[in-house]
């Protein structure tokens, strides 16, 4: 009896957290599944006829969804790699600082805590196509790299350059802070003994730092990838998916399907398919890191 009581005890501690999770996450997910299988009407008391898998089968022939999925993949690939490389670089630099560690850590982390809306508008201003747009001004009048101002936000490729730069700039601090914590947990004696054995800076990084960081890299990459897939605000604020939906992301497409076209059933089906793709990718990613136990898998 006592044993049973002891076994029940941990569940009591889990209960409050689980209740929150159930009400705010699991219940909405189940509700979305129900919506995705119906021709949903937004009025609470109106009939919502059963549609089976019609919404799901429609996705296969929806060229806009596949275009937005491709865009999301490209954005995720560029920004995740960019954030990780630059984040690691900054972490290494800050780790080796003697003075001002806290200051620089705070400075690089600042973009992470700023509002997406504010920085998106700021980037829209920086990349304005007029000659007085800041980037154009720098390239034309200060560095004289180009003669004519670039219409950054009216072409798909250059729009992505602006959106990707924003994504990387805003995320470096997050990667940096986690890498910094991991770097500080690597035992110093490893470096000291390797130095005695004649290891140079590159060798120390290649054979000690990098292997020790693999679990962190796995964790950070999964978290950044999931974050990148959820990108919505910069696109909504900077290009609104234009020109011709060529910068449309999956999340912005799902949002517009629901709230502009009032097609909640189809929008929920899109969300489920997208969630499955992200889930599958995250599993693959963790497997690719060879079962290294990062935070994400613990």
């Amino acid at each position: 009896m006592k044993q049973l009581k002891e076994k029940k005890f941990p569940y009591l501690f889990i209960l409050p957290g689980f209740l929150f999770l159930f009400v705010w996450l699991i219940l909405p997910m189940l509700s979305a599944l129900n919506i995705s299988l119906r021709n949903w009407n937004i009025m609470p008391n109106m009939p919502k006829p059963w549609a089976g898998l019609t919404n799901y089968s429609q996705i296969l022939s929806d060229s806009l969804f596949w275009l937005s999925l491709k865009n999301t993949f490209v954005y995720a690939l560029v920004t995740v790699i960019g954030q990780m490389i630059l984040g690691l670089l900054v972490a290494l630099l800050i780790d080796n600082l003697i003075f001002g560690k806290v200051f620089f850590r705070a400075v690089y982390y600042l973009p992470v805590v700023t509002s997406w809306v504010v920085v998106s508008l700021l980037f829209k201003f920086l990349f304005n196509s007029s000659p007085s747009g800041f980037i154009n001004y720098l390239l034309c009048n200060v560095f004289h790299i180009i003669d004519q101002p670039v219409s950054w936000l009216t072409e798909a490729n250059t729009s992505f350059a602006a959106i990707d730069t924003l994504g990387i700039w805003k995320g470096i601090g997050f990667a940096m802070i986690i890498f910094l914590a991991a770097l500080q947990s690597i035992p110093q004696d490893l470096y000291e003994s390797a130095e005695i054995d004649g290891g140079g800076t590159i060798a120390l990084f290649r054979y000690i730092t990098l292997p020790a960081l693999v679990p962190t890299i796995a964790t950070v990459s999964v978290m950044l990838l999931i974050g990148a897939f959820q990108t919505y605000v910069p696109v909504a604020m900077i290009t609104k998916g234009g020109p011709l939906h060529r910068t449309e992301m999956v999340v912005s497409y799902i949002y517009n399907t629901a709230f502009t076209n009032l097609n909640f059933g189809y929008s929920s089906a899109l969300s489920y398919v997208f969630a499955l793709i992200v889930f599958g990718l995250s599993r693959l990613q963790l497997r690719a890191f060879g079962g290294q136990k990062g935070i994400a898998e613990k």
Binding site: P44, T154, L244, L262
Partner: protein
């Protein structure tokens, strides 16, 4: 023990007071969502003058006015409706009505408002028609507007040419404007969407669909519509229309007041914005340049609609009557809202208004956008066609043939 007795006694007294107050209070609370501008006095007039006036006349009704920004209005409304927490009535953009009526969100007035006929007769026919969907009226017009041709006086003075009155004059005027300042543009619009393009399409004699909204074939790809698109593209290629139409550049108001754009096409709200932000800037208004089809602009404005699931139908209807009353409409004119009542069209208030005259003249020939639940998607097709033509990825005829097929499918 003594403290406990005092505590319990006080609690009982408080409980009794609460009960008595709630029994005695038969005031009905209604919630009204509006997107009235907070900066130019509209919202202030509503909340501090007009609603208190209504509440004084109707002591049993209390109105809670919630200001919701236009950009997120529809999203918030849909979320609130789905959650069963919608307002009792709201000020809707005229273009949202068919979409919401189709979903069963709105209360039909012809079936629920005993004196609807009286109000139907009292308001302008055009704005009233934006409430009509599948045999029923789902609201009343609240305010109306359209756009006119606004010109930067200093730029025209410098160029030494008069403001154009016809489409055929635009190219010559553009040359004169560019001769006086090579960096300037004749005209600016912030995208290829219908609100910007329809005046050109209609003034060229083209259209989007037939009157009954059954097909777009022969309308959006008609020779007149194709000519309108080609005309806009020619002006764009010649540097007469600003790159803002492609989605990026100096915004309309800054460019217009800053001497970059000689003309913009805008509504009565532009006056408060331009006068507020650029007090020394002078501009003049005229009718939209005439084409073969006339000088035809788009009707804009707001309707007042009641949510079908409201628990306070009678009170919401009473507040609606107040919103379209003569007093309310006259008061709102002072902050730039154009009235919708027939009996105010020739009133002194309208005649003496500093800028309503030109807008009322333009409204006489303006048309409403296609009333259809899929309007947002139709608008997206129109926008995409403009982008494809401007980028020279398709000819105007090709892009509009494709658009005709897509729109016909959307209205099927």
């Amino acid at each position: 023990m003594k403290h406990r007795i005092i505590f319990i006694t006080l609690s009982i007294i408080m409980l009794l007071c609460t009960c008595i107050t709630s029994f005695a209070d038969d005031t009905v609370n209604i919630t009204f969502w509006h997107g009235y501008n907070e900066d130019n006095g509209e919202a202030d007039l509503l909340i501090n003058t007009l609603i208190p006036q209504f509440e004084a006349e109707h002591p049993n009704i209390k109105v809670t006015a919630v200001s919701v920004p236009y950009d997120s209005f529809l999203t918030k409304l849909i979320a609130a409706i789905s959650a069963g927490s919608a307002p009792d009535l709201f000020r809707s953009d005229i273009i949202w009505v068919p979409q919401l009526a189709e979903q069963g969100v709105l209360l039909s007035l012809d079936e629920n408002m005993p004196d609807f006929e009286e109000y139907k007769e009292a308001v302008f026919e055009g704005p009233l028609s934006t409430n009509y969907w599948k045999g029923h009226y789902y609201g009343l017009p609240l305010d109306t507007n359209t756009k006119v041709w606004l010109s930067n006086s200093a730029m025209y003075e410098k160029a030494g040419v008069p403001v154009p009155t016809a489409m055929t004059e635009l190219e010559e005027t553009c040359k004169a404007i560019k001769a006086s300042d090579p960096n300037a543009y004749l005209f600016s619009a912030d995208g290829f969407y219908a609100w910007n393009l329809l005046p050109f399409i209609w003034s060229f004699g083209g259209g989007i669909t037939d009157e009954e909204v059954t097909t777009a074939d022969g309308y959006i790809n008609s020779p007149q519509t194709v000519a309108a698109y080609e005309f806009i593209m020619k002006l764009y290629d010649e540097g007469c229309i600003s790159p803002l139409i492609m989605g990026d550049g100096v915004d309309n108001y800054s460019g217009f007041a800053g001497g970059l754009y000689a003309d913009i096409s805008d509504g009565p709200w532009a006056y408060s914005i331009l006068n507020g932000q650029f007090p020394d800037f002078n501009f003049e208004a005229s009718l939209f340049p005439e084409g073969e089809g006339g000088s035809i602009q788009v009707i804009g404005g707001e309707d007042i609609n009641i949510i079908a699931q409201t628990q306070h139908k009678e009170e919401a209807l009473e507040f609606m009557r107040f919103l379209v009353s003569k007093d309310y409409q006259i008061s709102m004119m002072s902050v730039g809202q154009m009235p919708v009542r027939n009996d105010l069209a020739d009133s002194e208030e309208v005649k003496n208004h500093p800028y309503f005259g030109i807008f009322l003249e333009q409204i006489a020939t303006s048309k409403a956008r296609t009333a259809h639940p899929n309007w947002a998607q139709i608008d997206s097709v129109i926008t995409d066609a403009g982008q494809l033509i401007a980028r020279k990825e398709m000819s105007a005829q090709q892009a509009l043939d494709d658009a005709a097929a897509k729109i016909s499918e959307l209205i099927k």
